[in-house]
Subunit: 300 residues, 2 copies
């Protein structure tokens, strides 16, 4: 069974209306909450990422989910499970990285246990104060599809890392490797939309790839999304398959009414939300599913 | 480095005032948050607990932390990392157990990833609405030390399980094994205190054992706790070392002013908070530390 089938099974077992978005919106408490795990040899390899970068990425991955909801990131908890082979320098460097990434988001607690491999699970909490919260089910015909930043850099950076001839300096200075190891959550893009929009809207991060996020929005909203790949911001060295299907960029993609674009500084329109069969039209070609093209982790 | 030294290191790295209690109190949002992980072969063995029981226990362990804070448990997220050898029946049974334990607490999301062993991390959120939140630093001389329920049953149950001659029926009907596999968070005890108390107070759950909770309260509050072991509720077959140092009962221990005991139905006074050297006096013997006597997990 794949992840999506299992999530369906969990939803039906719990009979929960919450599971589906990057964050759960707990309206009575005025907060959103998310939890994401990073597992050694599934999501990262110890020799390809420093403890500092791992702490940094753990925080950004979770803050990115909060940003996808439109909420203001406020607090995090981090649970670390560590093998005996990991010493206190790992823990110190990990939390230095976490602190660097979290800025004004407070790391308020967590848990520390033993394990065979490094398991990291973090939860993040955001506030809806003055913000309108997104849902991937809220895309409407007539809306514009917009994205933040460049796409495909992280997957391209992972390829460079796996090629194994990367010097330590390149790991720090190379824009693609940096995009993979130390991604940046799109807090300003999220804030500009969530503070200014009056209507329901859809927003997701591109943790599983841009095309996957678009398909999720199309399916949840029951709409037809049409995109023009020539409009997607990307570095010229990155091919369009990596731009569409490479994961872990932690950019944002949103479906919003056109009136609110005037409130945004940095965005790119990549397509439109239309009526018609539910799915994603990429340069005129219609897809209801892109599972076969999805970015794969090291092992799955 | 042991867990406590590492937590000190994390606190100093983050310069965080939050880390220390079972829950972090996020006053501006009116909530408390906690995160706890259960790792295969560290906290549980797959052949000694069913998936249903594991889901049940995951929820109770986290709700217990919320109860220790005095907050009302409201929401949870659960992150599951599973090996390929685990099928959809495991996931279904796990969430059936989680649902059974959570009752009105809503499971609002989480994450699902691959891994080598089963790794579970859950976060729980509670509301401070109408409740006074505890801190282990709030015990004051003159307060009474009170506990909920029986102590030592879970550790005794674990011994029975490890003896390996337990039939499936005994696993369900045996009170000690049930206390270990399907503990009950003390929601009523917590609520009765938190809704009725006016002063600051200390409360912890006994996840790491009763004596450990008392030492933590003594150290954080800078007080001398004195207990009489003959007063601690326990089954006659459980020896006093297991009562004091056995973990995972998920009972509550609190230091509260005497005036508020009239609002409680079910509690036992086991001692007093006094001035004097910081530490724990057990039947007249003074301890500043009980690390050598602590309950050990399967591997640590």
């Amino acid at each position: 069974m794949n992840e999506k089938s299992l999530i369906k099974l969990i939803k039906s077992t719990l009979n929960s209306g919450y599971i589906g978005d990057d964050c759960a919106y707990l309206e009575d408490l005025g907060i959103v909450v998310t939890q994401d795990s990073l597992v050694e040899d599934v999501h990262f390899k110890r020799d390809l990422i420093t403890p500092f970068q791992l702490g940094y990425k753990t925080v950004m991955v979770n803050i990115s989910d909060i940003c996808a909801s439109g909420a203001e990131p406020k607090y995090m908890t981090i649970s670390l499970s560590l093998p005996d082979t990991v010493d206190e320098n790992f823990v110190k460097d990990f939390y230095e990285g976490a602190k660097k990434a979290s800025k004004d988001v407070k790391i308020a607690g967590g848990d520390l246990t033993g394990s065979d491999k490094i398991y990291i699970s973090a939860a993040a909490i955001g506030s809806d104060d003055g913000r309108k919260i997104s849902s991937r089910a809220n895309a409407k015909a007539g809306y514009k599809l917009i994205v933040s930043g460049e796409h495909g850099n992280s997957a391209y950076g992972l390829c460079l890392l796996l090629e194994n001839n990367v010097t330590p300096t390149e790991r720090i200075n190379n824009k693609f490797i940096s995009a993979h190891l130390m991604p940046a959550a799109q807090r300003e893009f999220s804030k500009a939309i969530a503070e200014n929009i009056k209507d329901d809207y859809a927003m997701m991060d591109t943790s599983d790839g841009l095309a996957d996020a678009l398909i999720q929005i199309a399916q949840a909203s029951g709409v037809r999304l049409e995109i023009d790949t020539s409009k997607i911001p990307h570095d010229p060295v990155v091919d369009i398959d990596t731009v569409l299907y490479g994961g872990e960029d932690y950019q944002l993609v949103a479906a919003v009414p056109e009136y609110m674009l005037k409130n945004l500084n940095a965005y790119t329109i990549i397509g439109d939300v239309n009526t018609g069969n539910t799915g994603l039209v990429i340069d005129g070609e219609f897809y209801t599913d892109i599972d076969s093209k999805l970015y794969k982790h090291f092992k799955e």
